[in-house]
């Protein structure tokens, strides 16, 4: 049976085509403003490269924050369920999954069977997401890739006071003025995001093995900061940004066309009070 898994995220679309245990094709592209069109276009491209036609695909399962934009999907599963299936397929010992994408950060507690036991998510605030790195890389006037790389060359840990991405940009500028090196600032940025996602992960509880997926898992500087923050080893599967799509494809193969996962939405506490 040939199936497709499509993950439509905040920033990118990922598509995986599978025939039983074998991957026939995969591809990724920006979501852009016209999400539905971006999906259609990428889907045809991936199929063409694999030498397939739309009618060859028996089941299509979509996931991601804009999964509903996949008009031709035969099923939809939540991001957490897709992550769980995708990770367990590659790393069966995984019990905690940390997924940091462009606009969300989530932690998932998963069973050996790839079932979601518990999960927490931050989708309200850019701090603790890939968007935060993008904003800081603009302030540093370097690319995101460069920022991720040079963070590893840092020689000292500088704490960032700002949680908010908007305030963080000004803080990065003031760190530059204080002659803090770019590698040290990059590390500070990574530590800040790791701190935020670390506290989301503590809500579900950190259990070994911890596996990191999503676009930020490709960012070596971030994975390093995360390891230090949670004081645990962190494994990264192959193609961590494709995990959602792979999980959706696994669900299609298993015939699990609809799945549910309970959500715990985490909104950062920004209000403090007192008496004078």
């Amino acid at each position: 049976m040939i199936v497709a898994g499509i993950d439509v995220g905040g920033k990118n679309v990922h598509i995986v085509i599978k025939k039983d245990g074998q991957t026939l094709g995969k591809g990724a592209g920006p979501t852009g403003i016209k999400k539905a069109e971006a999906v259609e276009q990428l889907y045809d491209e991936v199929l063409k490269k694999a030498g397939l036609k739309r009618k060859d695909v028996e089941r299509v399962v979509a996931t991601g924050s804009s999964a509903k934009r996949v008009a031709f999907a035969s099923g939809f599963i939540p991001d957490a369920a897709a992550d769980a299936r995708g990770v367990i397929k590659q790393i069966p010992t995984a019990r905690t999954i940390i997924d940091v994408g462009a606009e969300e950060g989530r932690a998932i507690k998963v069973s050996a069977e790839g079932k979601v036991l518990d999960f927490a998510i931050n989708e309200k605030c850019a701090a603790g997401t890939g968007t935060f790195v993008e904003a800081m890389s603009r302030a540093l006037e370097i690319s995101v890739e460069e920022l991720a790389k040079i963070a590893l060359e840092s020689t000292q840990a500088i704490p960032m006071n700002a949680q908010c991405a908007v305030f963080g940009e000004s803080e990065v500028v003031s760190l530059i003025h204080q002659k803090i090196t770019k590698p040290d600032i990059s590390r500070a940025v990574m530590d800040a995001i790791a701190g935020r996602i670390g506290s989301v992960a503590r809500i579900v509880g950190l259990e070994k093995d911890v596996v990191m997926v999503g676009g930020m898992a490709k960012n070596a500087g971030f994975v390093d900061s995360l390891k230090k923050t949670i004081e645990m080893p962190v494994a990264v599967p192959e193609d961590p940004d494709y995990i959602g799509a792979m999980g959706a494809a696994e669900a299609a193969l298993a015939g699990a066309m609809t799945e549910e996962a309970k959500t715990k939405v985490v909104e950062k506490e920004t209000i403090t009070g007192g008496k004078a």
């Binding site: 968007t131 403090t272 009070g273």
Partner: protein, 310 residues
């Protein structure tokens, strides 16, 4: 080569002013309050507890320079010198780095006191909407803080959030309020709390061809809603006033009033004398006024010594 002129839509105008009815040389106590905020700096000079001069400027790269800029701007049209001031109190985010100040007092205490002076002793709730934070403060009839809550961690609901929006939509920040009412129907508010995510949402609306004024209305509503969350936790009592820069944005204020079902107090001096003499009213100077008043009270009670040099 074509040079691109970068227009900064967030830049609000700086203002200063002198009270022509006061001869400072005849005054007994000259006190100043310098409020160095994260975005703006205000300096107010008072003669025997009456406003004499003020300046409202943008905060620069460091607090001492910003404090000097503010004070010099306030004194620009007067012959009063810094050395003639008896006592100066620093307040705001940069209060510990105000070089001409003898003392620092938190901005919450100063805003409460300043709002009491500006809007009168009936004020019970002060919402100070600053550049990088917002505070809801309950006060008593003397302007003393009873309790407060604040958000200083998130740009949503702060002046900075509005500045980011102004730059994005390319409309001067002071035009956003009036233009947000120039619409055929009230649109749903921007759903993202986070300013960064709200930016993407706004870009999406622009791409979809939503009229600019409607987007401004949607953004103002979201900001009003955000402030509501804070006020609901504290509990609002009338007379309710808004101080700080956002108080000047009627797009946010009117929508907040509608949601709260409470009117904010009129933005005019409580003291009839100031009203009649057309002394300009500026919602941003409450903190500096409060600081200057504390200086006057401390000297008056003999709890502080004059630092006057000339």
């Amino acid at each position: 080569m074509v040079q691109e002129v970068k227009q900064e839509f967030w830049r609000w105008p700086e203002t200063n002013w002198v009270n022509p009815n006061i001869d400072w040389e005849k005054g007994k106590l000259i006190t100043a309050g310098v409020d160095v905020g994260s975005v703006s700096t205000q300096a107010v000079v008072m003669v025997d507890g009456e406003p004499f001069a003020f300046g409202n400027t943008r905060t620069g790269s460091d607090s001492p320079t910003s404090a000097w800029t503010g004070v010099n701007f306030a004194l620009e049209k007067t012959d009063l010198k810094v050395d003639n001031i008896d006592y100066t109190i620093g307040t705001g985010y940069g209060r510990v780095n105000v070089p001409m100040a003898q003392q620092a007092i938190t901005e919450i205490t100063c805003h409460a006191r300043g709002a009491n002076f500006m809007y009168g002793p009936e004020v019970r709730t002060v919402m100070d909407m600053g550049g990088q934070d917002c505070k809801a403060i309950n006060v008593d009839e003397r302007g003393k803080v009873l309790n407060f809550i604040m958000n200083d961690k998130c740009a949503a609901g702060t002046g900075r959030g509005m500045e980011v929006f102004a730059d994005l939509i390319r409309v001067p920040v002071w035009e956003i309020g009036p233009r947000s009412f120039n619409i055929s129907k009230e649109p749903p508010m921007i759903s993202s709390t986070c300013v960064v995510f709200a930016k993407s949402e706004v870009i999406g609306l622009l791409e979809a061809g939503t009229p600019e004024n409607e987007i401004m209305a949607a953004y103002c509503s979201a900001m009003a809603h955000r402030i509501m969350e804070l006020l609901n936790r504290l509990g609002v009592k009338e007379k309710f006033v808004i101080t700080g820069g956002i108080a000047k944005n009627e797009g946010v204020v009117k929508r907040l009033e509608k949601e709260l079902k409470i009117k904010t107090a009129e933005q005019v001096w409580y003291n009839k004398q100031y009203r009649d003499k057309n002394i300009p009213f500026d919602t941003q100077i409450a903190g500096a006024i409060g600081a200057a008043l504390f200086g006057n009270a401390l000297l008056g009670m003999g709890k502080a010594k004059s630092a006057r040099k000339a």
